[in-house]
């Protein structure tokens, strides 16, 4: 049972709509494409409507209009001017039109790249270095990880002349890579089955009322 919906009339209606759309989507497995296409349109329409409502109620009104009316914060006016430039981009000169886009892309790249370096790259590198106080098991695990990584990297050497030893090592690396991916795909298979069984549970339990 998903437990999202209550017992009111709106909840019952929502359950029926969700159940019918679930059946339509599952019908796509049997080759019924036309109704499946309609369900995709329904999803796109609902998502667009939801995004519009979210933008108005949680962004534009509380974070732009209300602070502007209350405090007249100048930085919000700058932001509004940038939004105006972005909206009028098709009719504006190119150097002016690319201005808001450049700021947006630059800011996103700066935050994402800075975070990746400070939050992922450096701590992960530091975590991989063998320290003086590390246990023998930790050192062994690190050495093993380095060995496996080297073999996997070797497996990507295509077209490079190599002897029997290097060829065997590259082959081992390729099989290690396949084994690792296989293990992860096994986890994913279980995960996807959980999702499918959840949908079946929704149809039987939430919609048809078959008790668990």
């Amino acid at each position: 049972m998903t437990g999202f919906l209550g017992t009111g009339p709106a909840d019952v209606l929502a359950t029926w709509v969700a159940a019918l759309v679930t059946l339509v989507v599952l019908g796509g497995l049997l080759g019924e494409r036309r109704v499946f296409g309609w369900s995709q349109h329904l999803l796109a329409g609902l998502a667009t409507g939801y995004l519009a409502v979210l933008a108005v109620t949680e962004v534009i009104v509380p974070r732009v209009l209300v602070p502007l009316a209350a405090d007249g914060r100048p930085e919000l006016l700058v932001g509004l001017a940038l939004v105006g430039l972005a909206a009028g981009a098709p009719w504006l000169p190119r150097p002016l039109a690319v201005f808001p886009l450049s700021i947006a892309i630059g800011a996103i790249a700066a935050f994402a790249l800075g975070g990746a370096v400070v939050g992922t790259l450096l701590p992960q590198l530091a975590g991989s270095v063998v320290g003086p106080g590390q246990s023998a098991a930790g050192t062994l695990a690190g050495a093993l990880a380095a060995g496996v990584s080297a073999l996997v990297v070797l497996s990507f050497l295509h077209g490079v002349p190599r002897g029997r030893v290097l060829g065997a090592a590259a082959g081992t690396g390729r099989w290690l890579l396949i084994a690792g991916m296989g293990g992860w795909l096994g986890y994913l298979l279980l995960s996807r089955l959980v999702l499918l069984v959840d949908r079946i549970g929704f149809l039987l339990g939430d919609w048809m009322g078959v008790g668990r």
């Binding site: 939801y50 949680e58 800011a107 975590g127 994913l188 959980v194 069984v197 668990r212």
Partner: protein
């Protein structure tokens, strides 16, 4: 392909769905469970929660993905109920529209069940920049001074802005904020290294981890019920059957090609 094989191919998904539905409708089998034999994941979460002070403030970064949320839903609900039972105050915040929709649904469910100390911190637009602002504090209310006022952050992942983003943007700016993550299996390879380095204090990243954590709570509730195990076993057997069929066909093709070569 013969007509019969085409018919089998067309109706095989329907037969599988009906078989899974029949397995779902059967009573739960006591001998078939999803519990993990390795209790480490559960122990890490419990240790992190035990370390929280009384009446702690826990920020719940709620950004799961609509497609994969069903996988982690029982675990998320069990964790939220566990935190509320420990007397924690929860502040729900979302950085993605999808996460916001699911957060509203979960808060609505909590309110129907009597609620608890839950505060809606809303949707914060701006992706990574929004998280930085949240960490530094630009909002009125319980996070006025930023995430440093929180005792821990529980990040429900699945979307683009999940545990990895919190590790990258929040952890360097807010020292000593324990990060606990619940994420679907697809994010496991991405998040496991953070657990190894201690950047994530705890991670429930597979259905097995979730089942082990829920079993350890000892408070079975309808909302915490995990997936039925019998249909999952049936699905796994069907997948193995398809895999075996593919392998057998490949071997047969090899044998036939070898015979043709020998005959020539």
């Amino acid at each position: 392909m013969s007509d019969r094989a085409r018919l089998v191919d067309r109706f095989a998904p329907l037969v599988l769905l009906l078989a899974l539905a029949a397995a779902w409708a059967l009573p739960e089998q006591g001998w078939l469970t999803l519990a993990a034999p390795d209790p480490d994941a559960r122990a890490r979460v419990t240790t992190a929660l035990d370390a929280l002070p009384a009446e702690s403030l826990v920020v719940v970064g709620f950004d799961p993905d609509l497609g994969t949320y069903a996988e982690i839903r029982p675990t998320v609900r069990a964790l939220i109920d566990d935190l509320l039972a420990r007397g924690a105050r929860l502040g729900f915040v979302s950085l993605t529209p999808e996460g916001r929709a699911l957060a509203l649904a979960e808060m609505d469910r909590l309110a129907r069940g009597g609620g608890g100390a839950v505060v809606d911190l809303g949707f914060v637009p701006g992706a990574e920049a929004a998280l930085v602002m949240l960490a530094r504090g630009d909002r009125d209310g319980i996070l006025e001074d930023g995430l440093a006022t929180a005792d821990a952050a529980v990040v429900i992942g699945g979307n683009d802005l999940g545990p990895r983003t919190w590790v990258e943007q929040v952890a360097p700016r807010v020292e000593d904020l324990p990060l606990i993550a619940v994420a679907p299996t697809i994010l496991l390879p991405q998040l496991q290294p953070y657990l190894a380095t201690g950047q994530l204090q705890a991670l429930l990243g597979t259905p097995r981890d979730g089942a082990a954590y829920r079993d350890g709570l000892g408070r079975p509730a309808a909302d915490h019920a995990g997936p039925m195990t019998l249909p999952i076993l049936l699905g796994l057997l069907a997948a193995l059957g398809v895999l075996g069929d593919g392998l057998a066909q490949r071997v047969m093709r090899g044998v036939q090609a070898s015979r043709t070569r020998d005959a020539a």
